[in-house]
Symmetry: D2
Subunit: 382 residues, 4 copies
Amino acid sequence: MKKLTFGMVGGGQGAFIGEIHRRGVLLNDLAEMKAGCFSRSYDKSLKTAEAWSIAPERVYRTYQEMAEAEAGREDGIDFVIIVTPNVSHYEIAKCFMEHDIHVMCDKPLAMTTEQAEELQTIAKEREIQFGMTYTYTGYPIIRQAREMIRNGAIGDIVHVRVQHPEDWVIESVSPEQEKDAKLPWRFDPACVGSALCTGDLATHAEQMLVQFTGLHVKRVLAMFDTYPKYLSLETNTTVLLDLGDGIQGELWASQIAIGKPCAAGIYVIGTEGALEWNHETPSILRYTKRNGTTQLLEAGREYIYQESSRLCYASVGHHDGFNEAFGTIYRSYCEVLLAKKENREPENYTFPTIDDGVDGMRFVEACVESHKKGNVWVDVRK
Amino acid sequence: MKKLTFGMVGGGQGAFIGEIHRRGVLLNDLAEMKAGCFSRSYDKSLKTAEAWSIAPERVYRTYQEMAEAEAGREDGIDFVIIVTPNVSHYEIAKCFMEHDIHVMCDKPLAMTTEQAEELQTIAKEREIQFGMTYTYTGYPIIRQAREMIRNGAIGDIVHVRVQHPEDWVIESVSPEQEKDAKLPWRFDPACVGSALCTGDLATHAEQMLVQFTGLHVKRVLAMFDTYPKYLSLETNTTVLLDLGDGIQGELWASQIAIGKPCAAGIYVIGTEGALEWNHETPSILRYTKRNGTTQLLEAGREYIYQESSRLCYASVGHHDGFNEAFGTIYRSYCEVLLAKKENREPENYTFPTIDDGVDGMRFVEACVESHKKGNVWVDVRK
Amino acid sequence: MKKLTFGMVGGGQGAFIGEIHRRGVLLNDLAEMKAGCFSRSYDKSLKTAEAWSIAPERVYRTYQEMAEAEAGREDGIDFVIIVTPNVSHYEIAKCFMEHDIHVMCDKPLAMTTEQAEELQTIAKEREIQFGMTYTYTGYPIIRQAREMIRNGAIGDIVHVRVQHPEDWVIESVSPEQEKDAKLPWRFDPACVGSALCTGDLATHAEQMLVQFTGLHVKRVLAMFDTYPKYLSLETNTTVLLDLGDGIQGELWASQIAIGKPCAAGIYVIGTEGALEWNHETPSILRYTKRNGTTQLLEAGREYIYQESSRLCYASVGHHDGFNEAFGTIYRSYCEVLLAKKENREPENYTFPTIDDGVDGMRFVEACVESHKKGNVWVDVRK
Amino acid sequence: MKKLTFGMVGGGQGAFIGEIHRRGVLLNDLAEMKAGCFSRSYDKSLKTAEAWSIAPERVYRTYQEMAEAEAGREDGIDFVIIVTPNVSHYEIAKCFMEHDIHVMCDKPLAMTTEQAEELQTIAKEREIQFGMTYTYTGYPIIRQAREMIRNGAIGDIVHVRVQHPEDWVIESVSPEQEKDAKLPWRFDPACVGSALCTGDLATHAEQMLVQFTGLHVKRVLAMFDTYPKYLSLETNTTVLLDLGDGIQGELWASQIAIGKPCAAGIYVIGTEGALEWNHETPSILRYTKRNGTTQLLEAGREYIYQESSRLCYASVGHHDGFNEAFGTIYRSYCEVLLAKKENREPENYTFPTIDDGVDGMRFVEACVESHKKGNVWVDVRK
């Protein structure tokens, strides 16, 4: 099968988010990474390329060089993934679009609305397919909700409540920093723009609302809290929402919600029912018909729309985290095997071994024997 | 960095499980697939190889040929993954070990204990690193439990309860089949061995017990149920457990647990506390000290042991399913882009676009303005 | 032991709420019902009296007659419970206070803030012990939260979120009524006052905030929704809260929250931790120390403060229900009144008082004004 | 309305359980307490009587005196509640029945099956209405499950799992006691009989199974654990169940389940669906139709059977607690007894009877025998 090819700007070694994006593509076998400018340091870029099996001739010193070169190749990349700090999204996206290369950009799109709208205009004119990685909307059951709402499962929407509380700021800013007033760059308006929690997390909630309900925000009335107090930008955002046609709602996002590392959620009331989703059980959709019972819809089940169920990577009942459960077993296995090959002492990784496999067989046979003999004790042979 | 290389036997196109294993390896960037015998049909094998970018010269007609050829190459594979039906695990694993190739084998290890023990002997003699993919033990927080128990967090273990209920058999065997007594091969003793639910699911529970507690099953007393009644093997298994040193426990596995697609779980009582884990919230460990509060320990948090937290693919609060949430966005994006390139009408995939990105910027700016003006309504510019 | 005696106005047969209040008292054996004017129908009153074993000579035709007669008896009632429709609370409470009889009044206190404040003045002047049955604050674990916050368990409060969604209006108003525009009296402004959901349910949330945190609402910014649309008053209320000293919060109450029959809850973020309670598991308090695990505190356990655990009617692990929530309010009220009568210093029991009732009226009025003025900040009058 | 009258043996001041039973009756206004022998100390009995407003002339020095006197009075009590320590249930119940006074007895019914069967014979001969307070079966939603199963909601029952874990023994027995080997009387076989956890808690689970499913235990295979080890009786009980007609199940009860103060629950698989209930959310019933969604049924909702919903003391969404669970058993008992007295056909109320009490004794004895014989199947004597 013909696959797409893509490149990446940013996301080099040590940048957690580059790896996440790459895995996101790899899961599908629809596209291969062929080029990159992973870091401002060319050396670092080359090392990343080696780790990811990218040919050195398609590793570039600047994104401009990359856009030009790839646009000129017969086999140039189909799309580029932009995972640099927010401040450079605008210029990089613009450059690749001007070379007619499609774009997937990490959120937020830019630093200002003006920049964003300019990019939008270019994308329209040049017919660029421009995607944004608002991650939480990617859970398959979100698509189920969207289709249900379109098909009238809850009647007309009456009220919407959406939230995205996390606690990473309050958990990571120590009292010592408070004293010194020394702060990581990611709290600096020059780097993150005019808003902190609102840009970081409220946008996730806003986009969840859009994907889930199909509605858009027309007007806002926002209230910010700033804690720790020495920060210059807000860390907790409450917004009243006008969603048009008399529909109102509320949005809450937080970076200081102690005890809620990522309690994203949405609750939609309609004239004939309600739908609710929470990130804490991301494969479950709660559906209550007016005057009916609350039903738990599970991703991948027979009764789920095909638009949703085809997105599941694991079978029903298995969270999409199932792949990673496999992953940790393979990681542990490989780390130990690598150490062995390199005559190193392996770190303390564990995984099920052949001894566990043998015990499993003995266990099954003993169970069968116990049952056949009328439920008596049987030794698991050793 | 030097990577390992591996091959696969079985798992060709259409075989769900091959893809899951491959993804499990890919998540880590520690090993590359270089060879395979993915199907009895060579054609099908070649197609799978193409999809996975395996060189045609390392696609083999038989696993014997593969073992021999790879053992003879300078750059031969370091390990093989066996994902064929249960009945052939034994012969394939034996063959690769005899060529000194390391093995990762899907569970169960073999069809009989005798076969399993023979494989164990070979593995020991030849110093083969032989892993088994008991998947559920791969969740990072399971490793946390193991370390806590070793470090005395619950004192001495008193009693253990472990379960692995699913509902796939009762949900997939229709009344029509009941009438015709026509059954899929996977219910046939000739294919699956002497036990159905016990081999399929009770072994997962047994292995969870081993990895979580460090204990092993010494004696069993088992009770089987068979429903639908026309099946010849059990679909529900209850086992009393003697775990040695006076410790007892209970194990339940089911393929007919309606409403419980995969409610795996374990609960361990010790003299000084208890630990509990459930697959439904796989990143949470419940820990209660004797006379204390119940604490919810979350994967990846600061207070988690490094042996566990290094296994997380996502940041704290993000289920390991986070990667797949990215994945579905990339899948939708790529499916649409591929259709465009091939001048096909794309299927109904959706993903956040630049319009959503622009809306997000407008939303943030409007919120900032609303807050600054003293919490008044502000239009989200359009 | 000497018991208190009490009477009741309203709550006759068929009035669900009278029975609930009576049971709330009966649970404690601190007071006996001895008099009543249970209905405007004397016959109905007599029947209720018979069912509850009240002597016929202490069943009255009017509340005025009852207040006068009981005030004149040597063994007259110590306090009266008022459970009539909202519109008559004011006049009845006033009448009994003027006869120096203590009062427990169902919420809301009156129809207007002016009435409420007048009652407050009388109560102060005549040293009336005036309680209010804001039921949800009666769950024993709420008292635990209050003490923990006072003792610094979460540091200084940063942000508060409180909610009281129910679904009784949308579940009980049928499409037929919608067509006929015929509505039960309880949706009529003449009977319920200037607000529907805000007076009915937002006041419960507001009082929960007060009892849980010790904070009071200084300013509100309210947004109302009205569904079904033919109603003249709001059925869904969202309020931004100014709690003084830079502390902000949010309150949501609803009568149309399909799937949430009574999902009352509160979440409080402090500088050193967070506390959360939900009515769905009313014996559990979630407590997370900054950088710590989330702990589940259970009512009645050894580690619970005595102020809270003495309020439990059942042993640990055994739920107290709605009747018991009433019961703890009556217990606290009676314990304090008994101590007063016996010239003892009362133990540290707390219950909602007339001051809370007055605050509730002010809160509702401020919300209505804020909504009418287009969602602006309005002071809660003091 | 004519009320029943009753007396109590045991339950005097300081005895927690007497108060719980009394409240259970009081919740219903169907019966009044008029007589008692609350303690072996006549003084203590008189004080209890005063607190509960019982006339001194109906406070008795012995239960024999009470039975005789009350039987001789025109207005003698209709029924007696027995809440003494287990060891005296037999003789007291016998005495009152021989005076033709109806009985409500705390569980267990007696110390041996022989005693229990003798009481059963007397009750039949004398047409005594003999109830047993197996409390957990009193939650209204349990009755809903019973009716649903009878009406075929889950088809034919296939497998049943029931549990009643608590942690009171391990939480209350301190290491100091362990050293001294000094134990409270309630761990002494002379006081509690031949079983500890099995009689105390497994019987609750067994009765839950009976009330919920309508099935009865035919054979048991029991495994006991004893911790702390210096106790002479078991504190953790696991039982394989033969429920007749090829239906099997499992029962777990524990007094050492750290972190589970009262996690009673039941899960029933049928050919067409499953039902599940947990004490932690006692108003919710989980119902899954084969191939359908999981539905949460809430006590008191419109769609709930009238047999169940009439038992709710609070409106929907408002919890009934432990006292109310007692209350519904007393309500059902009194409704049937009143109908009998008035020669009416009683409505369809159900409650645990002496037959259930006898079955409970047989169940315990069979479990003890099974454990002692090395975990073999033992018939539950009939």
